[in-house]
Symmetry: C2
Subunit: 194 residues, 2 copies
């Protein structure tokens, strides 16, 4: 009987193993051989799972999004409205080492997604899911009287998305402009402006 291999599970295992290497050194600086070694595979053994380094970066991006979503669901729990929205945003914001490593993968991914339709589509899906979640929290906040501004909730969600994307790049490249304290205070100021 042929051995049944769950390729998706195997792909996720490999990405989990090579994750920190990709985030720390950048995909340009590592070879498929380095990535295989880090995951405990022989050279060439990643070929059935990933066609090349861009495939690994794509999987790493998806891993970052899934990790963020899982943390956000735990952090949000039963909360609604602005409390839930703030918790979701905090999990996307690069406030600690884990989230800074995620931001490294995300920013590297953006550069490739500019010229790769498949990567761009994966990015749109992730952002649209966050956008919907944010709009849902904003609707709850409005129903509860937590926000009363005239700006449409959709525009508020887009303002949040821009700010969070900006924090991801600025915390890495101009960290003095995006300290954790500044990030939190800026988010609170933005939420208060809604």
């Amino acid at each position: 009987m042929p051995k049944i291999v769950d390729h998706d599970a195997r792909r996720r295992e490999i990405v989990a193993a090579v994750w920190a290497l990709i985030a720390r050194k950048g995909l340009d600086a590592v070879t498929m051989r380095d990535l295989a070694a880090e995951a405990g595979y022989a050279n060439g053994a990643l070929a059935p799972y990933f066609r090349g380094k861009d495939d690994i970066l794509l999987a790493a991006f998806q891993y970052a999004v899934e990790s963020t979503d899982a943390r956000a669901e735990r952090a949000i729990g039963d909360a609604t409205g602005l409390v839930a929205l703030r918790r979701l945003c905090h999990e996307i914001m690069p406030l600690d080492e884990t989230r800074l490593l995620e931001a490294r993968v995300v920013v590297a991914f953006w550069g490739r997604a500019l010229h790769d339709r498949r990567m761009a589509a994966v990015h749109v899906t992730a952002v649209d899911r966050w956008r919907q979640r944010m709009a849902g929290c904003l609707a709850e906040a409005r129903a509860a009287g937590e926000i009363r501004g005239a700006a449409p909730d959709e525009r508020s969600a887009d303002a949040l998305l821009a700010t969070l994307a900006g924090f991801q790049v600025n915390a890495l490249l101009v960290p003095h402009t995006a300290t954790p304290d500044h990030q939190r205070a800026t988010l609170d100021g933005l939420l208060a402006s809604f």
Copy 2:
């Protein structure tokens, strides 16, 4: 007598010529030969000016920053305070084709700057100059009574920097979340919140 060549001027000419090609296709998709042909040089003739494609991306990033700064100075003219600040931000925001092409170069540059100290240093210099200019406008606005909030101007400048960086990536990768109207309205909401 040896011919005197102004290498900096020559480098700028070459970048101006290959600019749109880099922005449109991405540096990964073009060869040094393509770039030389676009600039009207023979294959290999770029070598005295650029050691490789990363050098060209660095020069393209500097070209984008200089173009933005030159437009901003013209747009600002004698204006001060919030009017000047809004005009500066509008020149950084990807509101038209020119600024979208600039954003393409900038986002590609971020991905490389994550793992290249020389590129990262050039980025910090550019952002710090904008940050100082913003802080100056905010101080003028405060002196004129245009802003009265308790948030330190430095934090407000950092919030603007994050939002603008976010627009640069979102207008390219999730454009429905960063239309020109949404960008302008978000900026105005942020300025009003100061």
